[in-house]
Structures are given as C-alpha cells and as structure tokens.
Amino acid sequence: MSARLVTSNVMLGFIPIALVIALWQALVSFGYAPVTLLPPPGRVFARMVQQLLTSTFQQEIVATLFRLFAGFAIAVVLGVTIGLAAAANPSVNALVRPLVRVLAPLPKVALYPALLLLVGFGHESKIALVAADALFPILLSTYYGASRVEQKLIWSAMAAGTPGREILFKVVLPAAAPSILTGCRIGLVISCIVVFLAEMITSTDGLGHVLVTAARTFQAVDMFVPLITISLLGLILNGMLEAVRSYLLRGFPEV
C-alpha cells in the first residue's frame, strides 16, 4: 500500500468520528437535548484537559492502570503457562479442557460479589476479576498457537539433540508467539472494560468510581470525562502492545 493511500484511508477514518462529534454538537445547539443531559463536546473536552492536569484525577488514572496491569500480567503469566502445558502434555490437557469449557462461558462479573466477600473491597478483588476475565482468551490462543506448531520444526529440533524442555521454550513458544499476542490484545481490551466495571460496582478510587460519583450527582460533563479517558487509555495501550508485537515478531512474515 502506498503512503498516499494510507493517508487517504486515515482521512476517511476520521470522517465518522468527526460526524459523531458534529451530530453531538448539533443535538445540543439546535436544542434537541438539554445541556444538563448532553453537554456540548467542547465543554467536555475542555473539562477533560482541565481534569487531566489535576493531581487527584491523575491519581484515579494511576489506580485504574495499576489494577489493569496487575490483573493483565497475572492473566498473561497464567494463560501462557497453562496454555503451553495443555498443548505439550496430554494429561494436563485432559484436566484443563473440561475446566475451560465450564469456566470460559461463565459471566465473570457475576463472580465479583463472591470475590468481594472472599478477598475484600481493596485492590485484590478487582485485580482478581481482571485476571479471571483476561485469562481465557490468552490461554485459548496460546493453546491453539502451540498445538498448531509445525511438527517438522519439533522433529528437526529433536534430531539436533535438543532436550524436551528446551524444545518448548526455543521452538514451540516462539512459533506460537503470533497467536499468543493476538490473545493478549483481546485480553488487554477486556482488562480495560472489566477494571472500569469493577470500579463502578464498588470502589473508592479509579476512573469507574469517578463516573459513578458523577452519575449520582447528575454531573453530565463529569460522566463523559472518565469514559473518554478509558477509551483513550485503551487506544494508547493497544498501540503499545502493537509496538511490542512488531518488535517481537520482527522475524516473522507479515501477518
């Protein structure tokens, strides 16, 4: 794709976003929606910039990010480990498979009350919920990636005298990397969503809590700010993961 085509595609992509904002502004300025219910976009963005500069709001973001990263990290470590183990070992597979079948379609938010009662109202319950929700996409894509590694690669490694354990780390793990990273990407988006929800349910800080407080006091402007912030955070994190991905997969053919 030529550079010019890319720029024209990017321009095209901005149209719907601009349209949404224009529609939003039109709804307000033509009086279809009262300003108390739908504040004009300009005011929301001004408020957001103003909020982003205050240290209290920055602390809320830090609290949310901390939970997000902690839960996501746990999910990545557990997901990749269990996924690889299940792909490599038939008896682990026989144990993990039915468990995943039962646990994956379970709505994890429904488990949140149980987590609250068990581990308390602090960071732990939110991190646990994020980890539980992000775990399964990572686990499953690791499993599929690892079980689809070309057999010839493994045979050649064995023929070259590589011990079994090293084959797992030197052959299977790198070969499954594209699939694992796709799973991580899905897991990351889920982490963003879940951490916000958990903070909305019970929390004393974080972006979700900001939204709930604003909703209780009918501050419409303040309700939009955390939503736009989490959307931007999601975009930034996604971009970072994309950078990590293209660094890790630099030897792979373009996917």
Binding site: P16, I17, L37, R101, A104, P113, A114, I186, V194, S231
Partner: protein, 261 residues
Amino acid sequence: MISWRTLVTRLAPLLASLGLLVIWQLASLALHNDSFPTALESIRVIPSLLGDPETLINFAASLRRMAIGFAVAVAISIPLGLLMGRSRAVASFFNPLLMVIYPVPKAALMPIIMLWLGVGDLAKTLVIFLGVSLPVIYHSFEGAKAVEEKMLWSGAAMGLSAARRMVRIVLPAALPEILAGCRTGLVLALITMVTSEMIARQSGAGNILFNALDMGQYDTVFAMIIIIGALGICLDAAFERVRQRLVRWSDPQFDIPLSFS
C-alpha cells in the same frame, strides 16, 4: 454402544463442574467464613429461589432484553462486518470509530443512557446491543476478508451480481468465523445484562444478585452466581450445537470459544 472413552469425554465438563463444587465445599469448610457459605448450603437455596414467581419474572425480563439486544445486534452487525471485509473504503471508514468505541465498557454507558431513556427496558436493551455488536462486526469482518478471491472471481465470471456474490459466496464462506463472533457475543450479552441490571436496579437477575449482596444474604448471592453461571454454560452449549450443525462442512474447529472481547 458408546465406548468408555467417548463417555468420559462427553461427561468431562460435568465432572469438571462437580469437581469445582467439591473444591468450593472443601474451601468454605476450611475457611469457616460467615460470608462464604458452603456449596451445599448455596445449592439448597436454589429451589426456593426458583420456586418464587418474583424471581422467575425477573429472569424472564432479563432474558427477553438479552434476546432482543442480541438478535438486533446480530442482524445489523453481520451485514456491516461483511461489507467492511469486502470493501477497503468501508473498512477504513468504520475501523477508527470502532477502535475508539472498543475499549469503552458498554455497561458504563448505562448511567448516561439512563439519563436520556430512563431506567426501563430500552436503555438496557440498547446497552446489550452495543456490547454484542462489536465482536460480531469484528469477526464477520475478519471472516469476509479471508474469503478466497478465486471463488469470487468464478462467481463474477458466471454472472452473479455483487449483492448475490455477497449472499451466496461471502456469507457461507465467512460463516464459521461469524458464528465464532456470535458465540463471543452471546456470552457478552449475558455479562452486559448482569452489569446493566446491577447499575439500574429495577428488575432482572443482576438486580437480585446485587441486592442480596447489599443485604448480606450471602447464600442467595452464591445461589444466584450458580444459576447465572449455569445459564451461561447452557446457552453456550446450546449455541455450540447449532453452530456445529450449521458449519458441519468446515474443518473441525475449536470446541471452546476462542475470544471474549
């Protein structure tokens, strides 16, 4: 005659659920925590909970919202996703907008939507619709993008119009991927349903669950978790049946859902 092996494979999920319940029972016996009832105590509450017409009405309301939201989302998302997959212009038109919306928790829009539409069915159904549509669009998009060009060329050479090519070639070819998206969407519909009812406590299963939590009726909390969990597993298994029937011709695919975005 079913062999012993297939019997074990069929029953494995059931055994896994039983195993989880046993672990729960042992854990709560070991912990001796007032707010952590044993599995047996929680299961004992289920019959009285389900025998209560109030609960059943709540569940019916929840399921109706979920069904409507899911159906509308699927009906709109599949054509949109397929179009995006076949036309680069449509794709680059919608992609950035979808990327911006993606990380926003849809249930978090609930307080804002409630301001405009009230706490009734419409707001909750809309939130479920939003939650379901993104994964379905995404998977339909990926599925339509991967359709083999040669099949489309032969279709065009045999005089199929663009619209008919879409229905006769792209739709069936992308069907396995689309159904994978629908499966994700189904679980997501359940999650969004529970969360939206948690935020707008008016009716529904989420309402019972979180009200019980607030009032400290811990056995009801855990019983509701079992019921909602079982609902998720049953819906998923039922959908899997339908999926297998529809795409029997395709390669044996994953028997567990791949993504939960």
